[in-house]
């Protein structure tokens, strides 16, 4: 089913980074920014969803209390790294059902420093045996890809180089610092072959969207961006060996979650990868972005390394990816991550992205992928 009558009328963000501010502060800031961008008041909102993974129960109501009294339904939604996609999708479904017309979707996270608490996703026996390092799972994918296709450490570092360089121009990003290829390749290994400067930074941040119908947006004016597709799936059996997998079939290899979700999103939007002008994708680690190129159809299997090496995914390239700096350089406050991607893309499609603007961007894709193979893909059109 086509989502094309549903639009984003307002987008707001609190920068991603490390802050003393509370989750309430971050979330209220982003929510107010989105409402202001939409030209609407809090009292115009008929329902709200909070995307979060680490925040405690009923955080949505507690954060949005800052905007003033209300009696609308406020629901917390979680689907690992795809939480933002799941929350945005609930808003789309609620509007399409004609239950409500204008919805706030908010993503907020304040993450503990360092590696995530493994008991959130791993079993006790995996933790005892040392199998609770997320980067180990990412790295094993990289090692196999290097073995099968000759992907190089330099190509992987090229992804991190690009994303760190892009974030310099993004006031909402955490690092905003360019690193040389030499610096990246000299940064310490976390899990071979993935290095410190090549993995995503868990941090704090918030992003918010005001979602409504095209009809209402036309009444109100403003600068709406159409949601052409918003798809959420979990990985099929034996389609993915991301954490916390303890094993995988050697006889069945199903389509991976990114390829599957992107395919459904392309079908929904009735377009293909060549129709898309810019992308924000889940660079949990620099290798992962290479694999995603292949799975969303920017190149053939095994061709992701050469694609980035040739500069095709730079801002001036054929397929610009992670103009914001991506998770590697903008950071990954999990609950806010996908919505932050969408805020970046709304800016790109409106031509408001400043020094990181992709010329003539009309169509854009946001992609997230995480624990349990939770994957979400949103396609926007302007």
């Amino acid at each position: 089913m086509n989502d094309s009558d549903i639009v984003i009328l307002g987008a707001g963000i609190h920068p991603f980074g490390r802050f003393d501010a509370s989750a309430q502060d971050l979330g209220a800031h982003a929510a107010r920014a989105a409402l202001a961008d939409a030209g609407l008041a809090w009292s115009d909102i008929e329902a709200a969803y909070l995307s979060r993974m680490y925040l405690p129960a009923t955080s949505g109501a507690r954060i949005l209390r800052r905007l003033g009294g209300t009696d609308i339904p406020i629901v917390d939604v979680e689907a690992a790294c795809a939480s933002g996609g799941a929350a945005l999708r609930q808003a789309v479904l609620a509007i399409r059902s004609q239950d409500v017309e204008t919805v706030l979707v908010l993503g907020v996270e304040k993450m503990p420093r360092g590696f995530m608490d493994p008991s959130m996703i791993y079993s006790p026996w995996q933790i005892r045996m040392g199998m609770s390092m997320n980067p180990a799972y990412w790295s094993m994918r990289a090692m196999r890809h290097m073995h099968d296709y000759g992907t190089t450490q330099s190509q992987i570092a090229r992804v991190a180089w690009k994303n760190h360089r892009n974030s310099v121009h993004n006031p909402n990003a955490m690092y905003r610092k360019e690193f040389s290829m030499e610096e990246i390749l000299a940064s310490p290994l976390v899990c071979d072959p993935i290095r410190r400067l090549e993995i995503c930074a868990p941090n704090d941040g918030a992003a918010a969207l005001v979602v409504t119908t095209g009809r209402r947006a036309r009444q109100l004016g403003g600068n709406p961006v159409t949601i052409a597709a918003c798809i959420h799936t979990i990985a099929r059996y034996s389609a993915d060996f991301r954490c916390p997998a303890d094993s995988m079939s050697a006889t069945i290899e199903n389509t991976g979650p990114t390829a599957l979700t992107a395919r459904k999103a392309y079908e929904t939007a009735a377009i293909g990868p060549d129709d898309i002008d810019c992308f924000e994708v889940q660079d949990t680690d620099a290798f992962c972005e290479i694999e995603i190129y292949e799975e969303i159809g920017l190149c053939g299997l095994g061709q992701g390394g050469p694609l980035v090496e040739a500069g095709h995914t730079d801002i001036g390239g054929r397929y610009p990816v992670n103009m914001s700096g991506g998770l590697i350089s903008k950071g990954e406050p999990v609950g806010a991550s996908h919505l932050g991607q969408v805020v970046e893309l709304v800016g790109q499609l409106r031509g408001q992205a400043g020094a990181r603007q992709v010329a003539d961007a009309r169509t854009a894709m946001a992609h997230v992928l995480g624990a349990g193979g939770n994957c979400a893909v949103t396609i926007l059109r302007h």
Binding site: G114, F115, M116, D117, P118, S119, Y122, S123, P124, W125, I127, R128, M129, G130, M131, S132, M133, A136, S139, M140, R141, A142, M143, R144, H147, P188, L189, V190, C191, D192, P193, I194, Y237, S238, F241, A245, D246, S247, M248, S249, A250, T251, I252
Partner: protein
């Protein structure tokens, strides 16, 4: 649960229905798995249902102890939480080992971290873990068997 119910000197399997000792000294172990009679898929541990088709006509099998390294990495930092490996921390290998029974298993790798190669032949080995004063766990890892299937 199993640790609670054993004497202080006893060794409990790291996870119920996943690993079994084949001799009193725990010098040889077996990895346990399940095969679905409906779709034929094999899974790690004793599962009541098939993760592929949801069927519940399941037979218990031993997964075999010789395999090949399908991929691997080296963990360079102490894993978060209650990791029971060497203290102080030493970098160690983690791999996905393909067993002839049709399953690839995530596992720690014993041995020199500079020597692992995809395609290596590896063999199941017991790994005894101590937790505090009283708990001892029978875990598993794989170790180089010599030779390469690649």
């Amino acid at each position: 649960m199993q640790a609670e119910s054993t004497a202080a000197s006893a060794v409990a399997p790291i996870n119920d229905g996943m690993v079994r000792s084949l001799d009193p000294a725990h010098g040889q172990i077996e990895l346990l798995g399940s095969r679905c009679a409906t779709c034929g898929e094999v899974s790690l541990g004793t599962n009541a249902v098939c993760l592929n088709c949801g069927g519940d006509n399941i037979e218990s099998i031993a997964l075999g102890s010789e395999g090949t390294l399908w991929t691997f990495t080296v963990v360079r930092h102490r894993p978060p939480g209650n990791y029971l490996g060497p203290d102080p921390f030493e970098p160690f290998g983690v791999g996905l080992v393909e067993l002839p029974s049709g399953l690839r298993v995530m596992t720690p790798l014993d041995g020199d971290i500079s020597t692992f190669r995809i395609g290596d032949k590896v063999r199941l080995a017991p790994w005894l873990l101590r937790e505090g004063e009283d708990r001892r766990w029978l875990a598993f890892r794989f170790t180089a068997a010599g030779g390469s299937a690649a």
